[in-house]
């Protein structure tokens, strides 16, 4: 009689091996999920870590004397004369203001020239002061207390981007300036505040990252979403109704079906080429206009909306249609009066998800010129450019734009812009989920 190789209590070599393989396999699975989740966590925390500081901004408070001799030569507060005074005149006034404030507070730092002190103020500040004076001419001749943006490097010092060691090597900032900034901070003249301008101001040029904001980009994205909503929702719903409720099975409808499923998988940049060739070169619409971006994103979003709308229509049970037809409704009435309202929550959810996709899309917008530098807020309608025809940028494109700039301060801005983008996406997806939970009916 042969002795058994093992029992339930004593595993033989082969069983051990098989069990080990089982355990290994299971570990691979856990590892894979771990890798996925880890990637998500690292991605989010890296963006948050780089970007949250964009929402705070360092400002310097000072008393500025506004000399009438320089700002209003006529002495009559005549707007036309005052408008001729450029920001070049305001620059030295600000520098003098800061120097006076330092003297009044008794702050002395070794090794600082007047030019160094001036360089601590953002180049944007003179424009802000000019706007303020033009808005309120009575300020001329008085000494006013103002707060102005600190330059990007000083701002970076309080966000960990610039240190005493890096300042030695940096041609744009000296350690003495940083010591002066610290001295100002001790006196309470230099404060770091929540940065509303980041959300409302337009983009700024390469030399003044501290003034760059998302105002134009958010407005441009909003216009585009409006165009997408107004065009894609009705067209998507109409074509879904046709395909789901009325279409006969023939070559033509088959062709449409194949087309829709293919369009859903076409790379987004191809839609950009389409927009450039058809809407700009052929139809003659203006480059970087939100209407063009909206049209391109509409074509891109349509398949998503059609697919989800068809699923929503399909989930309405046929008994509803039969009942409507039974009391004498036409097929069209059955669909529009009964099926469509019942499918509405599903359609809305799909539309919101499609819009969220469109909001984050970048590549096609690069090709239609939305990457241009735009400082003017686009008007919704102008006689020359029509509806949504003025140049604009969009949120994701602004991110790309900022990554192409030389100053590292723009990377912070780009990450901050992504946080804004992600918050919008989060809100849209949350609304979609709530809609689904609240209104979805199971038949």
């Amino acid at each position: 009689m042969t002795t058994p190789k093992g029992s339930l209590l004593v595993q033989d070599a082969r069983t051990r091996k098989r069990n080990a393989a089982e355990a290994r396999f299971k570990t691979y699975g856990k590892l894979a999920i771990g890798v996925g989740l880890l990637a998500l966590v690292i991605l989010i925390s890296s963006i948050l870590g780089n970007g949250t500081s964009a929402f705070r901004q360092t400002e310097i408070a000072m008393n500025v004397t506004l000399p009438e001799a320089k700002l209003d030569k006529s002495g009559t507060r005549d707007m036309e004369v005052m408008k001729k005074v450029t920001t070049l005149t305001y620059g030295p006034i600000l520098a003098q203001g800061l120097a006076d404030t330092l003297a009044a507070e008794g702050i002395v730092v070794e090794g600082l020239t007047a030019k160094d002190i001036d360089a601590m103020i953002s180049r944007e500040a003179s424009a802000q002061l000019r706007d303020r004076v033009l808005a309120d001419p009575s300020l001329v001749g008085a000494t006013v207390a103002i707060t102005v943006l600190a330059s990007g490097r000083i701002d970076g010092y309080y966000k960990g981007r610039v240190s005493m060691e890096s300042a030695v090597l940096d041609s744009n900032v000296t350690p003495a300036q940083l010591r002066l900034a610290d001295a100002l901070k001790d006196k309470g003249l230099l404060v770091t505040k929540f940065n509303w301008d980041f959300l409302t101001a337009p983009d700024a040029s390469d030399q003044r990252p501290e003034a760059a904001g998302l105002g134009v980009a958010i407005l441009g994205s909003a216009y585009m979403m409006l165009v997408v909503l107004v065009l894609a929702l009705p067209i998507g719903v109409a074509s879904s109704i046709y395909l789901e409720e009325f279409a006969p099975k023939n070559r033509w409808t088959d062709l449409i079906e194949v087309n829709i499923s293919n369009l859903a998988a076409v790379p987004s940049i191809v839609f950009g080429i389409l927009g450039l060739a058809i809407f700009i070169n052929f139809a003659g619409l203006r480059a970087s206009a939100p209407i063009v971006g909206g049209l391109v994103l509409t074509l891109m979003t349509l398949p998503t909306i059609i697919i989800s709308t068809r699923a929503a229509l399909k989930s309405v049970p046929p008994s509803i249609r039969d009942a409507a037809l039974g009391v004498g409704a036409s097929k069209m009435q059955a669909v529009f009066h009964h099926v469509l309202p019942l499918a509405a929550p599903g359609i809305l959810t799909g539309t919101i998800i499609g819009l969220a996709q469109a909001l984050g899309e970048t590549a096609p917008l690069l090709l239609i010129g939305m990457v241009a530098f735009v400082r003017e807020y686009p008007a919704p309608y102008t006689a020359a450019d029509g509806l949504f025809g003025e140049p604009s940028t969009a949120l994701p494109v602004q991110v790309y734009n900022w990554t192409q700039r030389a100053d590292p301060a723009f990377f912070e801005r780009a990450s901050g812009a992504i946080i804004v983008l992600l918050i919008f996406l989060l809100i849209m997806n949350a609304v979609a989920i709530i809609l689904r939970r609240r209104f979805e009916r199971r038949w």
């Binding site: 069990n19 393989a21 089982e22 290994r24 396999f25 299971k26 699975g29 590892l31 894979a32 999920i33 890798v35 996925g36 989740l37 990637a39 998500l40 991605l43 890296s46 963006i47 780089n50 998507g236 109409a238 074509s239 109704i241 046709y242 395909l243 279409a247 409808t253 449409i256 087309n259 499923s261 369009l263 998988a265 076409v266 790379p267 987004s268 940049i269 191809v270 950009g272 080429i273 389409l274 450039l276 052929f282 349509l302 059609i306 036409s330 969220a356 984050g360 970048t362 590549a363 690069l366 090709l367 990457v371 994701p396 790309y400 990377f411 780009a414 990450s415 983008l421 992600l422 996406l425």
Partner: protein, 418 residues
Amino acid sequence: MSPFMMLLLVAVLAILGYLTARNRALSMVGGDSRKLASLPGFYGQNAAFAALIPAFAVFLVGGLLTRLSTQFEGLGAWSTLITSFPGLVPLLAVLAAAVCVTLAFTRSNPSYRARVASEKWIMGLLIAAASIAILTTVAIVASMLFESVNFFRQYRAADFLFGTTWAPDFRGNSSLGLLPLLWGTLYISVVALLFAVPVGLFAAIYLSEYAGPKLRAVAKPMIEVLAGIPTIVYGLFALVTVGPLVRDWLAQPLGLGTSGSSVFTAGLVMGVMLIPFVSSLSDDIISAVPQAMRDGSLALGATRSETIRQVVIPAALPGIVGAVLLAASRAIGETMIVVLGAGAAAARLNEGLVEMINPFEAMTTVTVKIVSQLTGDTDFAAPETLVAFALGLTLFTITLCLNVLALYIVRKYREQYE
């Protein structure tokens, strides 16, 4: 006539048509709507549609003709007509509206089936909306073909398709070979898939075969969040975080490169983006394998992993292959990650194997070059700009083939268990 004026007139015609057609039908039966073939509103609705839809159609066709006539010689007659009567198209549209409204009005009698007629208008709108999908595809292909033909008139097709150097020069005499770009694209996609397919597949297997409902309810949506994040976010992540990390911890210690942007960076980040794509598609497919097959295998004494490897995966294989192909098509068409993570220098195919396959070298792709050739100041007569359309056509063709193949495989497989 200005388009705005047209809009106003057509709107007035539609409202007038609604009221008069409805009232005419009603007055013909002395106000007793039971004697009408349709409800009175349908007579009005029919007339209103008769004003709006033909006017809109005429306006669209007219506008299209005007645009076409500026580009093609054959439509010169229309072009001269339009220049002598600038407001012709809106005028025609209003005329069309007026004619159709009058027709609808005269037809409005008690025996006229206005509901059927007005529903025909709606049906026309629905069909037009559904045809936009086809129009889009036609427009995509046409726009790229048209400009590609222009490109190939100036640049030999063989040099484009088989050229091994990419060196555009706006002063002329550039080498616009496709192969370096195609190599970069495929290389990055392969790196991305090497990362995404094992991770995505194992995640899908674990979630569908091992995980309890609690873990599933948490982990599945969390992984799918990765799919909802815009690609620009991944691009910035590659540029700011992954790129420097890969350079400082992998490339420089190994002495393989000093560039922050590289094939490995772009591939890795793209792989992360593709994880949810692979995992959720594979999850659906694995869940579709009938439970009876698993039960049979387990009953014979196989462990769960043996069942998965020898029964579930082979049964789901065609579907998984389809999912991988779809992911590959995504990877090839991806733009923002490679624009920010892979660099702008084309692969150097002529300088030896090491240069060609070093994953820590910056390498550019088809999509990156489409972006760089079409942004900034562009001259649509120069081959350096037009090449972008040929690249786009190449990209479209490759992804289309992959998609069609994937859909074919997935569909064919689905039928097996139904």
